[in-house]
Subunit: 209 residues, 2 copies
């Protein structure tokens, strides 16, 4: 132990404790759902009191937001620089590899997505906003590809439909893999996205006629 | 009230009570999930004691099985005679119309599907078996279409991949619709399934070259 570490101890511990709570919350919410997963249980698993959690997070919803934020940051780091146009969709194969390596997050996110189908669910706004964000992102990248001539002509409503299909396929294949780890999630998704990109590409740019 | 009705009263009431418990269980499980949705709450909403539920159902899992069975029967009746080969997949548009008209069941089924991603979930076997059943059914119909020459040649693993994609697309689009009722679930799915059938069809039978 050197001097600076000792001096920065309490602060460092606060950050570590916070990270530990986020990690346990991710596990507990992913296993029991957000409604049934309690702060009490998260606290018990970390070895602190529920009141101690509220020193780090304003509310349960705030903790959930931090859990999702931590995973989003982690996946962005793992994926490297973001890509635009059709390359954005090729990059989803890498995102799926990240998801595949982080089963707990997928469990959490999909459990929340279906739980929040209940309009009174406390995280419903959070989840619907996240879906809207992903959709907007996909649509703007596909729209860019259409305008640049990399993709065939599509109407705005076709762009929305295509983007929704990609999101649906990701969620749906992930559910099957969570229920049966023998499902070849990565192979299935890569083959789907490559076929989709081929279909989207401007006819002159297609690899097959 | 005529004589027979009076005579059959207690029996008829038993059947009605049972149906009422199944309907409430479907709502409660769909809203809170299967783990958090309690027999106590179902009983309260029906206006009976939890013990009274156990006179009709052996266990919570038995009740869940009956809920799913009731819906499966109802959807089969709504869809009419089953279809084989590629027609099976065209008929999924009608199944989606049924699902769309029965939001509560979709909520229940999708909530369960993600909740059961936890290997210790009490309904995991039930849910994984249901997915396997659907997959087997899809694969055998697509296989039939390939063998009869209605669909292009596919290897068994291609048949499995294609079947898994259709299941994934149904689940994924349903999740988006549950989170946002403005999503055009029926239009999106019909356009996906028609495009997929066109891609599957034997080249000589395709409507477009």
């Amino acid at each position: 132990m050197n001097e600076p570490a000792t001096v920065r101890g309490p602060y460092r511990n606060g950050i570590e404790r916070r990270a530990e709570i986020i990690a346990k919350a991710s596990e507990v919410f992913g296993t029991y759902g957000y409604v049934a997963g309690s702060l009490r249980q998260i606290a018990t698993e970390v070895g602190i009191t529920p009141a101690a959690i509220t020193r780090h997070f304003d509310s349960k919803e705030d903790l959930l937001a931090e859990v999702i934020r931590a995973w989003t940051t982690k996946s962005s780091q793992a994926l490297g620089p973001s890509a635009t146009g059709l390359t954005h969709f090729e990059r989803l194969i890498k995102l799926m590899e990240f998801n595949h390596a982080h089963r707990g997050f997928l469990e959490l996110f999909l459990t929340l997505s279906t739980e929040a189908s209940n309009p009174d669910h406390p995280a419903r706004r959070f989840i619907t906003e996240r879906y809207e964000q992903t959709l907007t992102n996909f649509m703007s990248n596909l729209g860019l590809a259409v305008r640049s001539g990399a993709a065939k002509a599509m109407t705005p409503s076709e762009i929305e439909a295509e983007s929704r299909e990609v999101i649906a396929m990701m969620d749906g294949l992930e559910i099957q893999w969570l229920l049966n780890p023998e499902v070849d999630l990565l192979g299935l998704f890569a083959s789907y996205i490559r076929r989709t990109l081929e279909r989207w590409r401007a006819p002159a740019l297609r690899s097959t006629p």
